[in-house]
């Protein structure tokens, strides 16, 4: 439904390699990549997001993490956190 549509739209962007939706515990719910990669991304990024979130909140308890972008040589990983879910998008920047 709407969920599908939104995810499809995100996936259709130029250069997007994959999209993963994981729940609060770090278990992937929906993914466009293969299983092993998904599991790896989910586990690692979940922890990293938790750490980033706690960092932001430690500095200022009123603050909260809204978006996390990791730029690497090959591509960019974007993480959008929420209370219960986490959306991970991997994109190849245009070159």
């Amino acid at each position: 439904a709407e969920v599908e549509e939104t995810l499809k739209r995100i996936q259709a962007h130029k250069g997007v390699v994959g999209t993963i939706v994981i729940n609060a515990e770090g278990i992937p719910i929906r993914t466009t990549l293969d299983n092993s990669t998904t599991v790896q991304y989910a586990g690692l990024l979940h922890q990293l997001t938790m750490k980033a979130k706690s960092t932001v909140r430690d500095i200022d308890p009123q603050n909260d993490l809204t978006f996390l972008r990791i730029r690497s040589k090959k591509h960019e990983i974007m993480v959008a956190p929420d209370k219960e879910y986490l959306l991970i998008v991997i994109q190849n920047p245009c070159e």
Binding site: V21, I27, R30, Y85, L87, Q91, P93, E95
Partner: protein, 830 residues
């Protein structure tokens, strides 16, 4: 007591009475003398025997010669007793008379004073010694022995006295140090024994080492095994459909999309500065473009008067390059390639960088080899095409290790250079004998040097079924494709290269099949032909009886029907065969060798004839593979066609294109390693670049050059660079991004015609270009940095260029067509 005649006596009163010598009566001091008759004394003695006072002197009295004995009263006890007896007459007389004399002398003296009377000499008369007590002193002073002397009496046997003495000799050297001595020893009797010693004492605590072992085990994780938690499908469905997810996505998607778009708009991390620097270095200035001479190889024995026909790098081992040589023929002879008898054994030589003097390996060839190739899947299998049309196979797996260790070998054989010269001369004789010439030379058994082995071919094709003319090009089919007899390509599951394609000026393209069931180790019981030792048994069953699998004929366009195989005046070179490799094929391979199937594909001709269906199983023919290929001919035509059989009974669509751009024999047709549809063709005085799909003509064609281009090759590293070899020994380096009307650089390599160019990337830093010339010398050059490293976006730029050119060509074509239409209209209009 000095007076032996005086005997002291003690007279008792009785005695005194008897003899009337009573003291103070008869005898006084003055009148001390009494004469006693001897007889009286004797009478007394007799009467009173022992009691008599005369008893002790009884003997004396008896012996007294005189009659009367003088008895003297000793009032002074001079002799110790009151009386003494004078025992001698003289003494008696002396005693009685001397005082008279003395008195007389005194008187006389008194008298003489008055008168001088000459007294006659009177000798001194000895007086009796009177002891005055000096005896004691003398006694004291005299030395007397207090200890009795010890008396030793030594006796010896009489006979030993004065016996002869015997001396013996003793050698001084027998004694240690030639020195004999009485050694001194410490006499214990003189040593002082220490009875007291002063010593200090200190108390220290006693130190002791001890250890114990505890059982405390530090728990540590050595390994952890885990598996990720995963939701089951139902749970996933559930959460997907939950509202929470919807809300989440709606809230999040905006952010995500913004981020994505940011990335799409521009690359925020692009370093303009760095990119600028790279462009600078490649475009500005005149960099030093050159080919540095690295090494050159030649061999005087085998390559004398021979030209190198083909050069191939070993695909896996660094620094090994193989060279095939054939006789130098003038141009006329080259055209009528007759099988001239060989005067010299033809070989393929393997050179190693590390030992440029001697080749590493030699492959024996039945005839001169025109071209050869390493098998891409197994570099130990080499296929070569001879000038008489046969195809030869070698297996060098025995020497693979030796080739790989060429470097170590090179260091060790420096010293044997001198010996090898002689041995090699002998070897030449041997080869001459083996080639069967009647020179009258006896076959000499020469111990072949270990490090120059000669590998005999292990399979050669049968003469009747091979090409009738020189095999001008040979290629291995890539391992993913397999040409079946049907003419349809099928999958090759084994992924080893098992098929060869050869072409020849006799107008045919032959596909050869190497059965995958090689029997490398098995020994055949029945030996139909003698195989010399040390030849691997691989492909033994193919030897002499090897036949091609498929034969594709190309004929002249004008000719209508052909049944014969070799009739056409047009001869073909077939240098290129390339495939699109993404497709997977099924391997299917017939068990036994089939008889030759002649498939004749004709240009714009009636269909060919028979085709037998093979007993194949699991054949999966893929439709969308491209089996197109280019053929370059000896006349300068380029034909673009497809060999896949179109099983069309009525007509075969001649989907073959022909281009006559070059005027002379095409010697190189090559696909670019970077672009699959760009082909370089070199022939005669010009070269051209073609693009598949563009059928109008070449997208780039060079102008006619002064000399002839003899060979060309794309560069393996840069997409827009290729090398052209010329007949004056120059190499032209064309860089399409710099100049398209002339070479960007040229360099002279040798004096004679360049016969073959082969670039190779040995390592990212070392790019080599092997250039061979007509004199039999192989030059290996190192390609400089600028030519071996592509600049940024070079690939894209070159692609752009090609596309532009293609578009331009199309535009030209269009223009031409329009013009033609216009002129036709004009004509028609009239």
């Amino acid at each position: 007591i000095g007076h032996p005649e005086i005997f002291p006596l003690v007279f008792t009163t009785k005695t005194q009475e008897i003899f009337n010598c009573r003291v103070d009566e008869d005898v006084t001091e003055e009148n001390c003398f009494k004469l006693i008759k001897k007889e009286d004394i004797i009478q007394d003695l007799k009467t009173r025997a022992a009691v008599s006072d005369f008893h002790p002197v009884r003997k004396v009295i008896l012996e007294y010669p005189g009659e009367e004995l003088l008895l003297v009263f000793d009032a002074k006890f001079q002799y110790g007793q009151n009386f003494y007896l004078v025992a001698s007459e003289e003494a008696k007389e002396n005693l009685l008379k001397p005082p008279e004399t003395a008195e007389e002398e005194e008187k006389e003296e008194e008298n003489t004073e008055g008168t001088l009377e000459i007294h006659p000499y009177k000798p001194p008369v000895p007086k009796p010694w009177v002891s005055l007590g000096s005896e004691k002193e003398v006694e004291e002073e005299s030395v007397k022995e207090t200890v009795t002397k010890i008396k030793y009496m030594l006796s010896r046997v009489r006979r030993k006295f004065g016996a002869p003495i015997t001396f013996t000799d003793k050698n001084a050297s027998h004694v240690k140090d030639s020195y004999v001595e009485c050694t001194s020893y410490q006499d214990k009797s003189f040593s002082i024994k220490m009875l007291e010693k002063d010593v200090g004492v200190q108390m220290v605590p006693k130190v002791r080492e001890a250890s114990t072992q505890t059982k405390w085990i530090y728990q540590k994780n050595t390994a952890t095994q885990y598996f990720p938690r995963q939701l089951s499908n139902e749970e996933k469905e559930e959460s997907l459909s939950s509202d929470k997810l919807k809300d989440f996505l709606t809230s999040v998607s905006l952010r995500v999309e913004i981020a994505l778009q940011q990335n799409e708009i521009m690359n925020a991390f692009f370093d303009d500065w760095k990119a600028l620097a790279e462009d600078e270095s490649s475009s500005g200035g005149k960099p030093d473009v050159c080919l540095k001479a690295y090494q050159s190889f030649t061999d005087l024995r085998y390559l004398k008067d021979r030209t190198i026909s083909c050069v191939c790098w070993h695909p896996t081992i660094y620094g090994i390059i193989a060279v095939s040589a054939r006789e130098q023929l003038s141009y006329e002879k080259q055209v009528n390639l007759s099988g001239t008898s060989l005067l010299q054994q033809s070989v393929i030589l393997f050179w190693s960088f590390f030992y440029p003097i001697h080749p590493q390996l030699m492959l024996e060839c039945p005839e001169d080899i025109y071209c050869f190739q390493f098998s891409p899947s197994d570099p130990n299998i080499i296929a070569g095409g001879c000038i008489n049309g046969q195809v030869v196979l070698w297996d060098i797996s025995q020497h693979e290790e030796k080739l790989q260790n060429a470097k170590t070998v090179a260091d060790g054989i420096q010293m044997t250079d001198v010996n090898m010269v002689n041995a090699s001369v002998l070897k030449t004789f041997q080869y001459n004998c083996m080639s069967g010439l009647k020179r009258g030379k006896v076959r000499i058994q020469v111990n072949k040097a270990k490090w120059l082995p000669l590998v005999r071919y292990c399979a050669v094709s049968s003469i009747e079924y091979s090409h009738k003319k020189t095999v001008t090009d040979i290629h291995w089919l890539p391992d993913s494709s397999e040409e079946k007899q049907v003419g349809a390509t099928s999958e090759n599951r084994a992924e080893i290269c098992v098929q060869l394609v050869t072409c020849s000026p006799d107008g045919s393209v032959l596909f050869w099949d190497i059965p995958a069931s090689k029997l490398p180790e098995q020994v055949k019981e029945k030996e139909n032909f003698y195989m010399p030792p040390a030849v691997p048994d691989t492909l033994k069953h193919l030897d002499i009886c090897w036949k091609p699998l498929i034969k594709v004929l190309y004929t002249n366009i004008e000719q209508k029907d052909q049944v014969d195989t070799a009739r056409t005046p047009q001869e073909f070179c077939f240098p290129t065969l390339s495939f699109f490799q993404q497709i997977m094929y099924l391997y299917c391979f017939p068990e036994k060798m089939r008889s030759l199937n002649t498939l004749e594909v004709l240009d714009r001709e009636s269909p060919y004839t028979e085709m037998s269906t093979p007993s194949s199983k699991n054949l999966k023919v893929l439709e969308n593979i491209t089996t197109d290929f280019f053929v370059g001919t000896e006349d300068g035509e380029i034909v673009y066609s497809d060999w896949k059989m179109e099983i069309d009974s009525d007509s075969i669509k001649p989907h073959a294109q022909k281009y006559t751009t070059h005027t002379e024999t095409i010697n190189t047709l090559q696909r670019s390693p970077f672009f699959k549809d760009i082909i370089l063709s070199v022939g005669g005085r010009s070269f051209a670049i073609w693009k598949e799909g563009v059928t109008n003509g070449p997208i780039l064609q060079s102008s006619c050059s002064a000399g002839r281009n003899t060979v060309g090759h794309w560069s393996l590293a840069r997409p827009g660079v290729f090398f052209i070899g010329r007949d004056d020994g120059n190499i032209d380096i064309w860089d399409l991004l710099k100049k398209t009307h002339e070479p960007s650089h040229f360099q002279n390599i040798s004096e004679s015609v360049i016969t073959f160019i082969s670039p190779w990337i040995a390592s990212p830093k070392q790019h080599f270009l092997a250039v061979s010339d007509d004199l039999g010398v192989l030059h290996v050059l190192e390609i400089c940095q600028t030519l071996s490293h592509p600049s940024r976006n070079e690939h894209a730029n070159v692609l752009d260029y090609f596309e532009r050119e293609a578009k331009y060509l199309k535009y030209c074509e269009q223009e031409y067509q329009e013009f033609q239409a216009k002129t036709e209209l004009k004509w028609n209009g009239r």
